[in-house]
Amino acid sequence: MSRSPLCRPHEHRLSRRHFMGAGAATLGFGNMLRPVVAEDLRDKDRQVLCIWLDGGMSQLESWDPKPNTQFGGPFRAIPTSVPGIHVSELLPKTAQQMHHLAILRSVHTQDNSHSAGVARINRGDPKERGVVYPYLGSAVAKLMGPTKTGLPPYVWVKPGSGGFKTQDAGFLGPSYGALALGDAKPPANLLPHPSLTSADYQLRQELRTRFNERFGKRRFNNEMAADTSVYDIAQTLMRRMDLFDESKVPAKDVVRYGSHELGRHLLMGRRLIEAGVRFVKVNSYHWDSHGDHFNSSDCLHRQFDQPFAALIEDLADRSLLDNVLVIVLSEFGRTPRINSHCGRDHWPEAWSVAMAGCGIQRGAVVGATNALGTFVEGPEHDIGHLFHTWFQALGIPKEHMEYINQDQPLPVAHDDFSAISELLS
């Protein structure tokens, strides 16, 4: 039984009879009160590929077009592979993959600033409990662990520099941070110097391990564990340098995904998923189109469309969509109003999130905005709803949706919200 004297949020939703009866009988107190055990989920091999479009993708030029309306902009809506569902003409290739996708058009979140919005969305905006919650990638790394391949559970493909990014992990501790591959390249100086023999290398590792163990004995070991895990990751990657060998990538894939940054990075994202990384995040920056938005969109949305459609097509062809959850996410959408710079500003009021893959409906649109696209019509859905939905799609049992932080039980997602059942298959 847990040593924690604190009650858990989900306990408040159970009747005592339920709690003492069916719940206790089937799970036992011990199981019910334990945090989710990553090993339980490891065999399921479910994975996540999250595409983060930093700055905010316009819902009106992508998933929720409103052509010929006041705020609809210059572009047309086009039919998709699912009769009755239309997307912006800037996503022609994605439109042909719509039968694999689900679009949530009723997203309503709380922040219209980047500084707060990025973290809030990435963390699922749980209730304030005095701790810094982990980003989705770190959460999945904690809840599900690495796959059987032993590859690092959370890999972040991003423009710019790489390294081990611990800040995503929040209270989970630095071990659950992201291994960032700057410009999809391996970490610098990953391989030992050629002059070092394998025997010498082994001796050095043993010495390092002994020093670390001694150093860590009388110290708080979170950082020590992170340090050790980074070395373990490095060892694993050294055995998988083939992942970074571009000569092994078929030329036709390079063409299909595109030679631009997002194309190259999404292709790497697919390869990391195929190799067995649990959670891959692929970032694209500079979507914050306050000025000249429609020319920007014509450029950026097409840069997204090409590799995203190729990715979905590939995952579907290889039956990986049965196991891989794909998410397209930003910190918010963009204002329906077109400003004097011919731009769109920040808009958390009514925007869209697209997803595909394991546990998710295919060829579905859930939720709606009004005719002008200004506000949600019907139920609004916050990021907390989506975290519940995604955790459920990944097979994480509802009753295990909590962390234990220094004996304090914490729900993994906003405890007032629940999964959006229409999105789940």
Partner: protein, 363 residues
């Protein structure tokens, strides 16, 4: 830049004075132009309507002399360009869904187009220009193609691959050539007889690769009445996430292709110089758009080192049109709220509006 042109003639001052109160319109417009006979002012923009005003002399009751009539409909998306036939009362318009249409515009009641092509281009048509004789109209768009059409019936005459997004077109005043400006700041001169590209001018400072965005481009091309100079408008050096830079007009010597003057007016992030025109005084008049009181209206003679007038009160300018009398100027400005989040006004979610400022030009 070419050697600075020298002249002994004093440069004429040009003073704009507003006439009456600005005309308000409830949606965002892109262009407002006087008809060749000066009897109409026509505007197009984001509501896909062709908005018309009759033009008369100002009176005490009607300070501008403009009276709004019925709008013409039939377009979709945004109407992004218009061109008047020089002699007939025909108006040619293009929209962002690829439609080219020809309307009679001078009768008060609404009318169907005389002819139209729903798919004149694949997608967004950015620009339209009419030959000085009125026999041909040229269109260009995001599909990277320049198309020439008969103004009589809309029959296609020819088409040329520019190769990248065509954002601006202009016929030379002698009617022998067409010039097209693209996203990358390349200006091509096309021989109308052969259909060949015979020269390229560089307005490359108007293009920017801003992170992963392709920005800028030649937003408008305009010849001086004598045909000796060509102005290309756009922006330079965008900063930050706005992808907008400093308004800029590049003036070329058309004979040599050399740059006479690069007119950079405004602050960083002021946005684009959207329009320019050559006044008979020799001054280039330009407008630029940004947030209120930032993108200025300006006058600059290419033979002067600096702008003669920079007026931030006449900010947010999107188009300029000189009345055939040479004394009146219509400046179209936008008045669009900006800012993150709801920004409700009296419980309503406001969109952008437009304002047309009529001005008297005196030298």
């Amino acid at each position: 830049m070419a050697d600075k042109p020298q002249t002994d003639e004093p440069i004429a001052a040009l003073t704009p004075q507003p006439i009456g109160k600005p005309i308000e319109y409830e949606r965002m417009l892109w262009h407002a132009r006087f008809s060749p006979d000066g009897q109409w002012l026509v505007a197009v923009g984001q509501d896909a309507k062709i908005v018309r005003w009759t033009v008369a002399d100002p009176t005490e009751e009607n300070g501008t002399g403009l009276t709004q009539g019925e709008s013409l409909t039939g377009h979709n998306g945004w109407i992004c360009g218009l061109a008047f036939h020089p002699k007939l009362s025909h108006l040619y318009t293009v929209d962002s869904w690829g439609q080219l249409a020809c309307y009679p515009y001078s009768q008060p009641e609404t009318s169907e187009p005389l002819w139209n092509h729903q798919s004149a281009h694949e997608g967004w048509i950015r620009t339209i220009a009419i030959h000085p004789t009125g026999t041909r109209v040229a269109t260009g768009g995001n599909d990277g193609v320049v198309r020439i059409w008969s103004t009589v019936d809309g029959a296609p005459v020819s088409h040329w691959a520019h190769g990248s997004k065509v954002m601006s077109l202009a016929f030379t005043p002698d009617g022998k050539s067409l010039v097209s400006g693209d996203l990358f700041g390349i200006i091509r001169q096309w021989d109308l007889d052969t259909g060949k590209s015979i020269r390229e001018l560089s307005a490359v400072p108007l293009y920017q690769k801003h992170y992963n965005q392709e920005c800028g481009g030649v937003r408008r091309l305009v010849f001086s009445p004598q045909g000796d100079r060509l102005a290309a408008t756009g922006q330079k050096e965008p900063k930050g996430g706005f992808a907008t830079g400093t308004p800029c007009v590049i003036v070329f010597d058309w004979a040599t292709g050399d740059v006479l003057r690069e007119m950079v007016v405004g602050d960083q992030n002021d946005g684009f110089a959207y329009d320019a025109m050559f006044h008979s005084s020799g001054n280039v008049v330009a407008c630029s758009s940004a947030f209120p009181r930032k993108g200025p209206f300006w006058l600059w003679h290419p033979e002067s080192e600096q702008a003669l007038l920079i007026d931030k009160k006449l900010s947010n300018g999107l188009s300029l049109s000189l009345h055939p009398d040479g004394r009146r100027l219509a400046l179209l400005t936008s008045n669009a709220p900006n800012g993150n989040g709801r920004g409700l006004k009296d419980g309503e979610y406001p969109g952008g509006r437009s304002r047309i400022v009529l001005m008297q030009l005196s030298t």
